[in-house]
Symmetry: C2
Subunit: 343 residues, 2 copies
């Protein structure tokens, strides 16, 4: 089966100019793939230009007349943008004409639309957003939820742990991923009631490799594979990560740009700085997954560049190949029967 | 008035070897100061050694026979460690024999003991922990609460904003500090009920310069002076910051240590890397304040080195000079009368 991925081509800060070129790049690297650009047909054809000849059999265009704005409220987008590139791309997944969709659009609108159109899997109350962050072991630590849910119960955190287990098994090929619960201390007495109750649920499950509480700095140590938290905390932690990295990068540039001598040192340090940048390059981790839906939806960073967007497309391809939603359904069945035995 | 600061000399990962030398360093830099080392007299005298002669009039020792362990539960410390260096140091503040105390001990035990011995200020339901973090403007962004409170109401967040205002006015000499409320988006519709309600309370106050919602990355931009959040979120954000910084520092070392050539480049880059380190050196921001108490208590990082601990002592001195607890009482009176008018 050749994966068919629908791309919301009007999405993100840069729209078609990024999405179309990312599509061409991925198609040039992979043979067995079909991509569908969703958006304004005239614009898309013009951006495609002479490229269309070399990819014509593996790339199609699906017209959509509207666009969801980056600051549009989810409810407005849902009500008024039924012909938006985002909505049409998700519809293609629902109708079985695409196996996954990728959008760099407004997260709230994407989640609301995907949830409305695709519905959640049986046993999942709330979908969650998950992404990978770099760590010191040169692997990747997945964190969820990143903002889809702001008031979560211990049961939701438990479901997030199950979904995170499946995703890292599929994407990182880890047979038994280590699951940690984000807290403000590692001792059992620490944290609020919701986190304590979730810890008990996780500890009693034989299908989840729960390793206990972890703290914010553990995300970057590589000693845990999936960090579970509510969406408010996860979103603040993700944005904090971006903020620290940007500040350090700002001061690196400033320090190496101070005068002629520092600029010379920068020049000879360039290969080292590039190697360093590669190790923590956020672009390599672009592509957050909306988990818990009856379909695969990948969210690219709104400011993603071309390279970055290709990683989001590749994330979608892996999830299609590994059939992540079905795997999630499967682990949920196991967990529910486990719970039946416990109760 | 000469500030008298009690130092919990047995606290932190390194105990007296760090605290005593930090005390000597600060005394050598400042004339009008009296420091009280609290802890095992025999140990302290032996660490002081020949230094005692040059500081003898400005340094005293107060014996305490116990020590609170780093992993001891707050309730156990409170019940069983009545002669601990931590408790005795706080008692000195209560008895008016010291104007402030500094400890690198267990945060939970320090907060519980300080709260029990000193009590909170009138109008303050819960004390909070605040610290400064570096930002891109080469100033410092204060964040509170960092873990003293895990279930906060909008009223608590409002009190944190008031305390943060006073602290930054005193410590950073900002007449009208910008206060932001940490959220997962800047639009008014974002966030949980508690944050939304706190936003309304803050917007209606004329004594607080409330600038609206901020996100995790705003902490490092220098566009807000005080970031207000509940202790769970604040603690995760602080630990995330530490984690990202450590990971980047790990990869910088690794990249510059790869082979002979990279080590040579590191050598000539050294002044630049040092300058860089200085700008984001967490040691310069050591010294978190426990705000809302009837006394000044400063928490040093447990792993603080000597230089780092001197910053915590200096934070205590500034807060004594500016009389922070009295200033907090004052702004609370104003806020309460404001609220009286509104209601």
């Amino acid at each position: 089966m050749i994966p068919r991925i629908a791309l919301d081509a009007m999405s993100g800060d840069h729209g078609p100019s990024i999405v179309v070129h990312a599509a061409i790049k991925v198609l040039s690297e992979m043979d067995d793939l079909h991509l569908i650009l969703v958006g304004d047909e005239v614009v898309l054809k013009s951006v495609l230009g002479h490229h269309s000849a070399k990819v014509k059999e593996r790339l199609s265009i699906r017209h959509a007349g509207q666009r969801v704005e980056m600051d549009e409220s989810p409810s407005r987008a849902l009500r008024n943008k039924k012909d938006s590139s985002m909505r049409v791309a998700i519809n293609l997944v629902k109708e079985g004409l695409a196996d996954a969709c990728v959008s760099a659009g407004n997260t709230g609108a994407l989640m609301a639309t995907a949830r409305y159109v695709l519905k959640t899997l049986p046993g999942i109350d709330r979908p969650a957003i998950i992404t990978g962050l770099p760590n010191m072991q040169e692997t990747c630590t997945h964190v969820l939820d990143l903002g889809a849910n702001i008031d979560t119960t211990s049961e939701h955190l438990f479901q997030f742990a199950a979904m995170g287990t499946v995703l890292t098994q599929a994407v990182d090929n880890l047979p038994n991923p280590r699951i940690g619960l984000l807290n403000i201390g590692q001792e059992e007495i620490k944290g609020n009631e919701c986190v304590k109750k979730a810890a008990k649920l996780l500890a009693s499950s034989s299908s989840i490799n729960y390793i206990g509480f972890v703290e914010g700095d553990d995300i970057f140590k590589g000693t845990v594979d999936v960090v579970v938290c509510d969406g408010f905390v996860g979103n603040v932690s993700l944005k904090t990560t971006e903020g620290v990295a940007k500040m350090i990068s700002h001061y690196v540039k400033q320090s190496f740009n101070k005068n002629l001598w520092t600029r010379f040192v920068a020049l000879i340090s360039l290969p080292i700085l590039k190697n360093l940048r590669h190790k923590i390059d956020p672009r390599r981790h672009n592509g957050a997954s909306l988990l818990g839906l009856r379909g695969i939806v990948i969210k690219s960073h709104g400011s993603a560049d071309m390279l970055s967007f290709t990683y989001a497309i590749k994330e979608a391809i892996i999830e299609v190949q590994k059939n992540v939603p079905e795997q999630i359904s499967h682990i949920l069945d196991t967990l529910l029967s486990e719970k039946g035995r416990v109760e």
